[in-house]
């Protein structure tokens, strides 16, 4: 998306709200144009769903539960975990990074607006497509091929959706924070790889937190990344209820607020540093 597109999107708009919407709409058009690429990009993350399916199937041969999860639950976990992780995918991240290279005009025009919100709005266009395709993969592979379970109860389902939304926003903010690092390095790929890898581990995507070795579990439970995948899934599977569940939700929400504050502090700081350096 060129800075000219951005200008056009922003010109003649009145409220900040509608500016954000038109930004999102512009990238949505772009994203739809690249739907085949996105299809492949999301698809390739599901390779590991297949691998994990077979690995866990072998593990569960001859036992009913591992760390409190049954085979049905584990299978469900794997599919939905990857589905959630792919809601905010590669393109969303690189879109946020790209603007730092090309978005000088946006800087100028956006100063009255919030840069963080602007980035989120722009990325939303790609996220809609990536998320949509991810959901399709999740449903097709999950329901048709791997026979995943439904949520544990209606209450679980609702809590799942709530936690999913908070987790989704959390991931967007984390990716945003990482994207700020492109002020100092041209290699967006390296940043994306690092972020993806750490996210896969600490969010509980590659393996449920409950299975991790003690020290890693402690680290993961403290960080906000668990709110992206692990917490919503705990509600879905019904493994966290009552006060424990409420605690999880509270932690998730608290982290979201904290990340929002950190993000806003971070980008303002970054701008100032870059201005001083004349980057």
């Amino acid at each position: 998306m060129t800075s000219l597109d951005t200008e056009a999107a922003l010109r003649g708009r009145t409220s900040p709200g509608s500016k954000y919407v038109s930004l999102a709409r512009t990238t949505l058009q772009q994203a739809i144009a690249y739907r085949i690429t996105t299809f492949f990009n999301v698809g390739l993350t599901f390779i590991w769903v297949i691998i994990l399916y077979y690995l866990w199937r072998a593990a569960y041969a001859g036992r009913a539960s591992i760390a409190g999860l049954s085979w049905d639950q584990m299978r469900t976990y794997v599919v939905i975990a990857y589905g959630i992780n792919a809601l905010v995918g590669w393109r969303t991240g690189t879109a946020m990074m790209a603007t730092i290279r090309t978005g000088d005009v946006v800087f100028g025009m956006v100063r009255p607006l919030n840069y963080c919100t602007t980035q989120l709005a722009r990325a939303l266009g790609f996220t809609v497509v990536e998320g949509g395709i991810s959901m399709v993969f999740t449903l097709v592979i999950g329901l048709l091929f791997l026979h995943i379970q439904a949520p544990a109860s209606v209450g679980s389902a609702l809590l799942f959706v709530l936690a999913l939304i908070i987790g989704f926003l959390t991931k967007m903010l984390v990716v945003f924070l990482v994207s700020l690092l492109t002020f100092w390095t041209l290699n967006g790929m390296g940043l994306m790889w690092s972020q993806q890898a750490i996210m896969q581990i600490l969010s509980g995507t590659i393996v449920p937190l409950a299975l991790m070795p003690g020290w890693l579990q402690v680290v993961a439970k403290v960080l906000p990344l668990r709110g992206i995948v692990s917490t919503p899934l705990e509600f879905y599977l019904g493994t966290a209820s009552g006060w424990a569940g409420l605690g999880l939700l509270g932690l998730q929400a608290a982290w979201l607020v904290a990340l929002w504050l950190i993000s806003n502090l971070a980008w303002k700081r970054a701008f100032r540093i870059v201005e001083i350096q004349g980057g």
């Binding site: 085949i36 492949f40 297949i50 072998a58 390296g190 790889w193 393996v207 299975l211």
Partner: protein
Amino acid sequence: MVRPLRIFFRLQLVQLRSAMEYRADFWIAAVGAILQQLVSIVFLVTFFGHVSSLGGWSLWQILVLQGLVMTADGIREMFADGVWKLRADVNDGSFDRVLVRPISPALQQFAALASIHGIGNSSLGLVVMVLGLAHSGVVWTWWTVPVLVLTMLCGTVLTASISFLTNMIAFWEPSAQSAFPTLVALMRDFAKFPLDVYGAGIRIVVTVILPYGLISYYPSRLILGVGDSPGWWATTPLIAAAGSAAAAALVWRRGLNRYQGVGN
């Protein structure tokens, strides 16, 4: 034969020096690539915290599989990553330059990029593999190390040929993004685990069509003494390397012909 190879390595060296000009980027790419490999290892270690064997394989034995695949691909990254630039070169006309120089276009394309963080990946792969071997109670014979070395080298040829082949889609669909070659390349992750656990479909794909299994599973079974393994399995890496290299050479010729407008 020697001269083109010498030029090839000189070109690689140039790319390496170019990459090191951008120091921060180089390290970030290296760290990022290693972290990606670590995800698989973290999974394995966690997995084996709850399970003692996977399809009859122990953690250490599976680490040998992981190491073989990682090393093969890491070396490929060091020397043949330029194929990922083929699409861009074909699209902006830079490929013309390749045709106007008196050395092999394939070698030039291989050297177009040096993803030197391949050193990180292949080093990590070696470490993982050696650790796995050390703890697997391997019966060391005169052919163990040669077969290992052969497997790794053939693995490099295989991964290089496959990534070369898939990127040649650029000759027929210049606008296609690199999603398809990336997807095929990632299928090598299947070969990081014993093929016994997969369904028949995947086993066939990873043995015959994208024979990553031939450079990890089969030679490993022989070396590690897992189950009954016929001796000729020591040659499966050669079969994979030869077959894939031949396929790549064939399609490359056709791709070049297409680019040059032969038959129009």
